[in-house]
């Protein structure tokens, strides 16, 4: 019944109501047709056809109700998803700006500190030397601890 999605709601409703109405009319006509001359012979056929149409119409009325409830639910979900996507997009932009600002602040502070270290180079060094062992251990501390397979 996937094709029902392509039929406009109004047209679908009209068609189903039409089938029910036609079924009722034919059933009633069939009931009274036997009393009218000339068309009396068609009474039974009209009654049978009317009953079949009425049954089909009632079946489709039920199906139509279900279809409409699903369409409504689909619309609600589409609206909720659109809102969620908008919220997520806004969040992404806000976080991006906040994180980039933090990176700038960190880089500024690092640069400021480096400038101060350089300005006080003579005072800091003050005859202090770092042994080869200390450099080796420091180098080892800085070196990556695990192989990087993510890049």
């Amino acid at each position: 019944m996937w094709f029902l999605n392509f039929i406009p709601t109004e047209l679908l409703q009209l068609a189903i109501h039409g089938v029910v109405a036609l079924g009722v009319i034919l059933s009633l006509a069939g009931a009274f047709a036997s009393r009218i001359a000339f068309i009396g012979q068609y009474g039974i056929a009209a009654k049978v056809l009317g009953s079949v149409l009425l049954l089909l119409g009632v079946f489709f009325e039920g199906g139509y109700g279900v279809e409409m409830s699903y369409r409504l639910r689909t619309q609600q979900l589409q609206a909720e998803i659109a809102t969620a996507e908008k919220k997520s997009d806004d969040l992404q932009k806000a976080l991006s700006v906040k994180s980039k600002q933090k990176t700038i602040i960190i880089k500024e502070k690092v640069a400021e500190n480096a400038k101060d270290i350089e300005a006080n180079r003579i005072v800091i060094n003050n005859g202090c030397t770092i042994s080869d062992d200390a450099w080796m251990f420091y180098n080892r501390a800085v070196a990556p601890k695990v192989s990087d397979s993510t890049r």
Partner: protein, 77 residues
């Protein structure tokens, strides 16, 4: 029977992450073997601490991004 007929695609697109969080983390800068003074070491430490704090804030932003998006996604029922 009719109720199972919906063909409307209902799918929430995967949320986008901030572009600066998608850059792989850099390694720490090793000390320059030709510069062995205390200030050179301090400069290297200063640079590497900066890298750490930048990664820390990016990591925390990832956590915030995940938690917020999970909350948004859970809100769709």
């Amino acid at each position: 029977m009719l109720g199972c007929s919906t063909t409307v695609p209902l799918r929430q697109k995967f949320p986008t992450a901030p572009d600066n969080l998608l850059i792989p983390a850099d390694n720490l800068t090793p000390p320059d073997t030709n510069k062995r003074s205390l200030t050179d070491m301090l400069e290297n430490v200063n640079e590497n601490y900066g890298k750490y704090y930048d990664l820390q804030q990016k990591y925390n932003t990832w956590i915030e991004w995940y938690n917020s998006n999970k909350k948004i996604s859970d809100g769709v029922k």
